[in-house]
Symmetry: C2
Subunit: 318 residues, 2 copies
């Protein structure tokens, strides 16, 4: 059985860990990761979502934090701050920096990000095929209400998403292509899962890569999503600020409608939290496959159960 | 009084520290640094000699080691080794890495190395004007006896200069230009000093930059050198391997003759160690200004005395 997941960082990584726990050897999982948060920082290439996936699935993640390495230190970045060049708000942990340096070295040899990612993942053995959404440098920028354009990470990490955002733009989008394997992972899967990642700047960015949305719309695989919104608030992070910026209400039902139902949209089924049972009812009345269940990913067994509930919605539970 | 020093790493940095201790506020010192050892490593620009100068003159150097930062750690590089990409033999200290990252960030904004160096030096206040020999990427490579061409640092650090070297080549030399300020520092100085740096791959590389040798040959300033060879062996490092590669004997007198006396060569005067008094005699008989004195740079006061002896040879002691 082939399962493909479209993932951002922490939420998608934790969901995929639960999925792997559920499926064990019974399935091969491919994760298509958002790389819109990637940035060149001090000359090195940082890929936040790929790293979070690699560390989480490879057992090296800082568990409480949800991203970065366990037992991380900040010797280099503390010293770097003394040069006063800015971007001190972006944490470059000493261990994480090793990954950035290794990635940059490999990129500088001319390898595309997808091959670099495969090479880095050898160390962490994440038990999935980990694919960047694209080998091109597509970066999400935020156009603020006062017309400034800043990198998404600056808006997200430095300003904690408090600067009013007018819209999100992706650089190089027109000429970008899905990384090798991405379209096949969508069209040849037995089921595609959209985990509770940020629907705007994580999954939304993956879907914006030319060809991806159409591949998902027309894939013969069922597509099931898990709501990242519970009781009118994002489970984690500041997805509400992203939804507000694009005019979508922060509710389980609004996010489902934003993704849309196939063939016009990209989903067949939507799993909401038990607290949002009325959202499932409303969606079902519109023709969706929808379910309500506990969806807080508090630990791996709980998350495995959430993954089971999602797969069961589309009859894809092995 | 204006003093210009042509420097490699440890030897030149220690000599300059003594010179500053000697001169205090009575002189302005400009250091033209070899950048032939520079390299791109894991995407960041490493400038070994500039860093050694900056740390030594800024009071941050690892004193026993002679290069790198005091209280250095290797958290990042130890972790990087787990990716197995090679170059593990090149130490990237966590604190030193901050300098490389800051430099790379500034270079990526389009600033030339000379301006980047000035910006980085603001933090360390090295009490000199610190100039790279060139803003161009001129790198010293070693052609080994079996015809391989490797970066100087690979030969020097990884192979400890034990691979037989056929010759040294500098990349991009033909199109390289001295950095802004370098030629003026040579022609407008009151005295130019060649410290006990490696005459082949440090000072020799600086002299190879188009225009530098001629500026030194024709400068109205006296030029005095201090022998890096004492009693037939280099004071530090493996300069003998470099001298052997270019067919120069490892002796105080041979190094002087290799530099040559102006106007054909670049020196007027040569200070040798007291153990090499016969070398001074031999050079004097050939028309050189030469002196013999203790030249082991054991501490700052001793080094200040060596600097005084060197300046005195050409009547430049203030």
């Amino acid at each position: 059985m082939k399962v493909t997941v479209l993932s951002g960082g922490v939420g998608g990584a934790r969901f995929t860990r639960g999925l792997l726990s559920l499926l064990g050897e019974r399935a091969h999982v491919t994760v298509v990761a958002n790389t819109g948060d990637d940035l060149w920082l001090h000359g090195v290439r940082v890929c936040p979502d790929l790293d979070t996936l690699m560390y989480t699935l490879g057992g090296a993640v800082h568990e409480e934090q949800g991203w970065g390495r366990r037992d991380e230190t900040r010797r280099t970045s503390d010293d770097l701050a003394a040069y006063g060049l800015g971007w001190e708000w972006f944490t470059l942990g000493d261990l994480d920096l090793a990954t950035h340096l290794a990635r940059t070295e490999l990129l500088r040899t001319g390898l595309p990000l997808s091959q670099v990612t495969a090479r880095l993942a050898e160390r962490w053995a994440p038990r999935v095929t980990l694919l960047p959404m694209t080998d091109d440098e597509v970066e999400t920028h935020v156009v603020t209400a006062d017309g400034q354009e800043i990198h998404f990470e600056e808006w997200w990490v430095r300003h904690r998403a408090t600067l009013p955002a007018a819209r999100f733009v992706q650089t190089n989008l027109a000429t970008a292509a899905p990384a090798p394997g991405v379209l096949a992972a969508l069209t040849e899967a037995d089921v595609v899962v959209v985990p509770p990642s940020n629907p705007v700047v994580s999954v939304g960015t993956i879907l914006a890569i030319p060809g991806v949305r159409d591949a998902l719309r027309t894939s013969s695989a069922p597509v099931v999503g898990v709501s990242p919104v519970i009781g009118g608030a994002p489970v984690r992070g500041m997805a509400d600020a992203c939804l507000t910026a694009i005019g979508v209400e922060t509710s389980a039902v609004a996010v489902a409608r934003h993704y849309g139902r196939r063939p016009d949209g990209v989903l067949d089924a939507w799993l909401v939290d038990e607290r949002d049972a009325d959202a499932a009812d409303a969606l079902r009345s519109e023709g969706w496959i929808a379910g309500a269940a506990p969806t807080l990913m508090t630990d791996v067994p709980t998350t495995a159960r959430i993954a089971a509930d999602a797969l069961a919605l589309v009859g894809a539970l092995p």
